[in-house]
């Protein structure tokens, strides 16, 4: 494994207890803001000090509380892309990038190369406050790449940008990551971004890594409530096991047939897009007769809020395309929650 992290640190509201490994891949830390993602990156970079534990990169011990090793950030060879990019405001683009070059004798040869590669030609003498968000990101990445790090930390790389710019920059960043070819840790709370950029995803909640899995496996089977929520599952209900092997979704007020034994699961979820319409007289499991409480129009789809049971305390959201909905539209609607789409989740 290229990167090995196993650290603990007491924070104000909870304790950070993070443990994961990463190979030459993109590993995303997915979590709500304030869950300890950025703090984890800071500990790896050496900006913050964990209370105890161990961090290893390519066989080099960066931190070991037992052996009292804690390399200064200068010696860790970790590239850190900050949320606001942290360009030095008093320096030009060239001077900023030059700061990243460790062997200054090679600056004359490296600078023109990286400036061309990162599409910064013509901006060499500009100061950061004259650059667009995208250009700032490219300068920050150039400055990190010339530093030749063994590990790249990306902290919410698109949070400082307009949504129109994001997609284009994501494409650029994907290429930069491919060129870099070593371990990358990406911190984000955006599931789409994470799915497109990462190979594996670690779901974080209140300082703990709950699940660490390949992105496909995680989106198919998020395993925990946080995982389901962060991968975009909006419909989550607490669950009670019934004697006949079925389950009761308490919040929705309905009984359902689960895809498998509920075991220790305490929540059930279904993605808004996975709900299916049920034809009149259709037989099968998990067919529900619902009242339409609200209709929300999205640019390319409709979200319908449904009340499924008499005692339901939460509505079920269903997202479907506009044509299908216009054919079904009414005060009530019949739906099917396919067993294979139900997610059984642990707390």
């Amino acid at each position: 494994m290229a990167l090995l992290v196993d650290i603990e640190k007491k924070l104000r509201d909870f304790s950070l207890k993070v443990s994961f490994e990463a190979d030459r891949e993109v590993l995303a830390l997915l979590g709500a803001s304030g869950c300890g993602k950025s703090m984890t990156l800071k500990c790896i970079a050496g900006i913050e000090k964990p209370d105890q534990g161990r961090i290893e990169l390519d066989g080099v011990v960066l931190f070991d509380s037992e052996k009292h090793i804690s390399l200064p950030p200068q010696q860790r060879k970790v590239g850190y892309l900050f949320q606001q990019y942290a360009l030095f405001p008093n320096m030009t683009v060239t001077q900023n990038i030059r700061c990243g070059i460790r062997d200054k004798k090679r600056a004359a040869e490296i600078l023109p190369e990286i400036i061309a590669a990162m599409h910064l030609t013509g901006l060499e003498e500009a100061h950061p406050n004259r650059l667009s968000g995208g250009q700032q990101q490219r300068v920050a990445l150039a400055r990190i790449l010339v530093n030749e790090p063994q590990l790249l930390l990306l902290d919410e790389p698109f949070s400082a940008l307009d949504s129109q710019l994001r997609f284009q920059l994501e494409e650029e960043l994907r290429r930069t990551i491919a060129r870099f070819g070593k371990t990358v840790l990406l911190v984000s709370h955006n599931r789409d971004e994470v799915f497109r950029l990462a190979d594996r995803i670690a779901v974080m909640n209140r300082g703990l890594v709950e699940v660490c899995a390949s992105k496909k496996a995680l989106f198919a089977e998020p395993l925990t409530r946080t995982g389901a929520f962060l991968t975009g599952c909006q419909n989550i209900s607490s669950l009670e096991k019934l004697p006949d092997g079925r389950i009761r979704a308490v919040d929705w007020g309905v009984n359902l047939t689960p895809p498998r034994e509920a075991d220790s699961a305490s929540f059930v979820g279904i993605r808004m897009q996975d709900i299916r319409p049920a034809g009149p007289g259709e037989k099968g499991n998990n067919i529900l007769f619902c009242r339409v409480e609200e209709e929300i129009e999205n640019p390319f789809s409709v979200t319908v809020m449904l009340r499924c049971g008499e005692k339901s305390t939460a509505l079920l959201g269903w997202e479907l395309d506009k044509e299908t909905w216009s054919a079904l539209r009414g005060e009530t609607v019949c739906i099917r929650l396919p067993e294979e789409s139900l997610l059984l989740l642990e707390e």
Binding site: K42, A45, G46, I47, P72, P73, Q74, Q75, R76, V78, G79, Y80, F82, Q84, A86, F88, P89, N90, C99, G100, R102, N129, R143, I144, N147
Partner: protein, 221 residues
């Protein structure tokens, strides 16, 4: 006309400003990073000279530096000179009085510094001293410059503590402010007015400089 008071005032203010530039920045940098409780206590102690009457500062300095007091007696015994009643004695007075001005403005500037700039410098392998002088100081330069100029202006006008520790000897310890008082006391109104006008001109220039610096800072550099 004898220009000695102008020369003396300028050199006292200049030297004490240079001293306080480094001491004030040093104190501000470390105290800005200190834990809250420590910060609160040190802040009170270090700001005290700003609100104390200069005569109180002068009194306290004489208690330490006077020829029969702890440090004063030791210096007299070892090096054979008195620390009071020389032109440079006034430097002790002015440094103490202007320290809070430099310290407070520099601390405000350091607290506004975006710490991620220092972090990113560290991860790029830049030395901490490089980060301090080439990134942190330029970022805070307007606040620090304003503090320096303000401290210089205050040093130039110091009277109370200076007159106690350096006294007034024409051609030796006379400064503009002590000269004005002396000339007024001896009814030399015309000469006093001349020094008053000179002093006002210098102060106006200094304040103009402060204003220009502050405007530039608001406009964003």
């Amino acid at each position: 006309m004898d220009w000695y008071p102008l020369l003396n005032s300028l050199r006292i203010a200049g030297i004490s400003t240079v001293i306080i530039f480094f001491v004030g920045i040093f104190a501000a940098y470390y105290i800005a990073k200190a834990p809250r409780a420590v910060k609160g206590v040190l802040d009170v102690i270090l700001t005290l000279p700003l609100v104390l009457p200069p005569t109180v500062v002068g009194y306290l300095l004489l208690r330490i530096l006077g020829p029969k007091r702890v440090i004063g007696a030791w210096v007299l015994a070892v090096f054979g000179f008195k620390m009071t009643m020389t032109w440079w004695s006034a430097i002790f007075a002015t440094t103490v009085v202007i320290f809070p001005l430099m310290y407070r403005t520099a601390r405000g500037a350091f607290e506004a510094f975006d710490e991620t700039l220092a972090y990113s410098g560290q991860t790029l392998g830049l030395r901490n001293s490089y980060i301090f002088w080439r990134i942190r100081m330029p970022y805070c330069r307007q606040g620090i410059l304003a503090g320096t100029v303000l401290a210089f202006a205050r040093a130039l006008g110091e009277y109370g503590a200076t007159s106690m520790i350096a006294g007034y000897t024409p051609g030796r310890t006379a400064t503009i402010s002590t000269t004005v008082y002396q000339l007024w006391r001896t009814n030399d109104d015309a000469a006093a007015l001349k020094w008053v006008l000179i002093n006002m001109a210098i102060s106006a220039v200094v304040l103009l400089a402060v204003n220009m610096l502050e405007k530039k800072q608001k406009g964003g550099a």
